[in-house]
Amino acid sequence: MAAAAATTFSELSAFKLVSSRPNSSSLTVFSSLKLPSATNSPNYSFKALKSQLNPQRHHRITSPLRSTTTTPDAASTVTTFHGLCYVVGDNIDTDQIIPAEYLTLVPSNPVEYEKLGSYALIGLPSSYETRFIDPGEIKSKYSIVIGGDNFGCGSSREHAPVALGASGVAAVVAESYARIFFRNSVATGEVYPVESEGRLCKECKTGDVVTIELGESDSKLINHTSGKEYKLKPIGDAGPVIKAGGIFAYARKTGMIPSR
């Protein structure tokens, strides 16, 4: 058991390291965890990324259920997320995701990046009795957020997807997104913005254990707690940008900017 936990731990820390890196190149690691392909940017080695990160991060992970792992599949590349989900409603705007008073924190500053994470979704009204981050904690136990329509509406503040990513969220599954939030999620690689086919915010409850599988041809969300499966929409145009590893990696790959 200890061995298995250790394996899970290192896989998780691999992905978690990815999402904690406050810039778009984090997605390069994400894609590099799949089967090697010619399209992966050769410029970021996984080891290099690991060494730049705050080693304290590893201690935050308390349960294997919070983990998100990418599991390369022999036949095709499948991206997987797994963990507890936190369910919110429609029109969750950026002020609820990260209230304006915390915007003095600069996301590209590693210490302030962590602080942003500790305030993720603190702006949700008190009608949300189960809070996203437990009092006294600075990380969330939920790695997947499930929302309704127009998730992330409001401000262009990149602090919003950053706060979610820094708090431990790996993916958001929403019925639809506001465009700037979606763009920022893709550009930063902080959270993977998944679109659902239906209103999963009505089907799932906070605390349900879910798995998201994003395949080349089809994607689904499995709710282990309810036993149901739901279809997810393909990523669409943002796919090549995410696959390349964010806007900078994509631009380098397509020759828009010189390689490093």
Partner: protein, 507 residues
């Protein structure tokens, strides 16, 4: 080229007339299910070829383009493009402020190197405006970070502030970025303006493509002067009729957002045309375009005309070339409004699309009024409020906070005579009405901000505000209730202590 198959990659181009000549008294009408169905995917399919068809000798078939499509086509050096296409666009102006600038610079340096230089020191405009008059150390530090970067990069346009105790002691300081961009002549027809703020869409009032982006995208633009953008389809809003004297552009945009919902324009351009729009001043057009993002819109545009050229006359030396939608341009949907039938509106808590008639909210007791922000803190917004106070002659019943958007607006408030007042300035009228003294220009409490921000809502109160968003916690307190309204409606409400239709005073 043997054949040409046109796949509209986004939605069908449905030209639909939705006449809204009579405004019913139903509050916040929108059919949730229909807003998603507006886009129907139609792929046109070629019939199999019967015989060989020689390519046209006059070049590829050209279809009409909308104003937005034309700007993006020119900026991406393409002769044709269709909505849904992703294009690399040359950026004319990149704007950032104290909240997002530091993060954008951090990414710029990380990606392009510590010694990298911005792509064009004259095309980056840096405007501290969000958290300025505060003792919050990090907020103050962020302005210092802007200064260090501007010094190092020799940025031409940096509207700096050092003396926080006296804004007038800072000759370069402007205030709210979107108003400053316009006042300083950085908004020009036909250009592409990107900013690290959602209300960057305000500049579309000048007939340009203007939209908000995040730090990472901004970091990319800083290094390259380009960005990958998806071409949006256009929704057209035709507003005709003489603008009643109790209505302002704020009422028009609240009407529209209430109609199509907060996601009704997601990924779309909103084009405003018609005789009413043509009659609007530049500041009113800015108000209209400002809240495009509240409908989910990517950008808003008002075609440039004499009003635009006149405004720009003293402000910019740079040449510009306006563009206009072709006659055969395809619009996703068209909405028509007879403005003479509209009435003053509010957006009730907690959503900008929670539309209601101001007169139907007259029993809502309020605790305060806020007049300010890029949406409702411009010179004409204060003139409008002053007009209502003047017409009443009475004092306000609740604390009324006034935050001019920029130094120039502040000076106008203290110097321009209000028509019909016998030479009084707005500031005098405000003082006589018992309003708070106009504050130092900045974004102020529109978005809450650090705890010591002037007029921040720190208790669960009810506020009528000329700002742009009223989601929970927007102005500070999570249980605060914000009613979005025009300056006329805000002033009228201040006078009664209840949400009030300005016709109570203006007719």
């Amino acid at each position: 080229m043997a054949s040409l198959t046109i796949f509209p990659s986004s939605s069908a181009f449905i030209k639909k007339d939705v006449s809204l000549s009579a405004f019913s008294s139903q509050p916040s009408f929108y059919v949730k299910s229909s807003k998603k169905r507006v886009c129907k995917k139609i792929a046109s399919v070629m019939a199999p070829q019967q015989s060989e068809r020689k390519p046209s000798t006059t070049g590829s078939v050209k279809t009409g383009l909308t104003l937005t499509e034309k700007i993006l086509a020119r900026a991406s050096e393409k002769t044709q493009l269709v909505p849904g296409e992703n294009v690399w666009v040359n950026v004319d102006i990149l704007m950032t402020h104290d909240v997002c600038g530091p993060g954008a610079f951090g990414i710029f340096k990380k990606e392009f190197g510590e010694n990298a230089k911005v792509w064009d020191r004259e095309k980056v405009v840096i405007i501290p405006d969000h958290y300025i008059f505060t003792t919050d150390e990090r907020a103050n530090r962020n302005v210092d970070i802007l200064r260090d970067f501007c010094t190092e990069q020799n940025i031409k346009y940096f509207y700096d502030i050092k003396d926080l105790g006296n804004f007038k002691a800072n000759p370069d300081y402007k205030g709210v970025c979107h108003v400053a961009l316009a006042q300083e002549g950085h908004c020009r027809p036909g250009e592409v303006l990107l900013g690290t703020d959602s209300h960057t869409c305000t500049a579309g009032a000048f007939g340009q493509f203007a939209t908000g982006i995040g730090n990472t995208d901004a970091g990319f633009v800083l290094g390259t002067g380009k960005l990958l953008l998806k071409v949006p389809p256009t929704l057209r809003f035709v507003m005709d009729g003489e603008m009643p004297d109790y209505l302002l552009a704020k009422d028009l945009i609240l009407q529209i957002i209430g109609e199509i919902s907060v996601a009704g324009a997601t990924y779309k351009a909103m084009e405003f045309v018609g005789t009413t729009v043509e009659s609007l001043t530049m500041e009113e057009r800015m108000t209209l375009c400002n809240m495009v993002v509240e409908a989910g819109g990517k950008n808003g545009v008002v075609p440039a005309d004499n009003t635009t050229y006149k405004y720009l006359e003293e402000k910019t030396n740079l040449p510009y070339e306006p563009v206009y939608s072709d006659g055969q341009a395809r619009f996703l949907q068209e909405y028509k409004f007879d403005v003479s039938k509209l009435e003053p509106l509010v957006a009730k808590p907690h959503s900008p699309d929670n539309r209601a008639l101001a007169r139907e909210c007259k029993d809502v007791k309020i605790d305060r009024v806020y007049i300010g922000s890029c949406t409702g803190g411009k010179t004409e917004d204060f003139m409008a409020a002053a007009k209502v106070f003047l017409a009443s002659g009475k004092k306000v019943k609740v604390p009324t906070f006034l935050v001019p958007a920029t130094q120039k607006v502040w000076m106008d408030v203290y110097s321009l005579p209000v028509p019909g007042s016998g030479g009084k300035t707005c500031s005098q009228i405000f003082e006589e009405a018992g309003c708070d003294t106009p504050a130092s220009p900045s974004c102020g409490a529109c978005l809450g901000g650090p705890r010591d921000t002037y007029a921040r809502m720190n208790e669960p109160q009810v506020c009528v505000s000329t700002t742009n968003r009223n989601f929970p916690g927007r102005m500070g307190h999570k249980e605060g209730q914000v009613y979005l309204a025009s300056p006329y409606t805000a002033a009228a409400s201040a006078l009664t202590g209840f949400v009030t239709d300005p016709r109570e005073f203006l007719q």
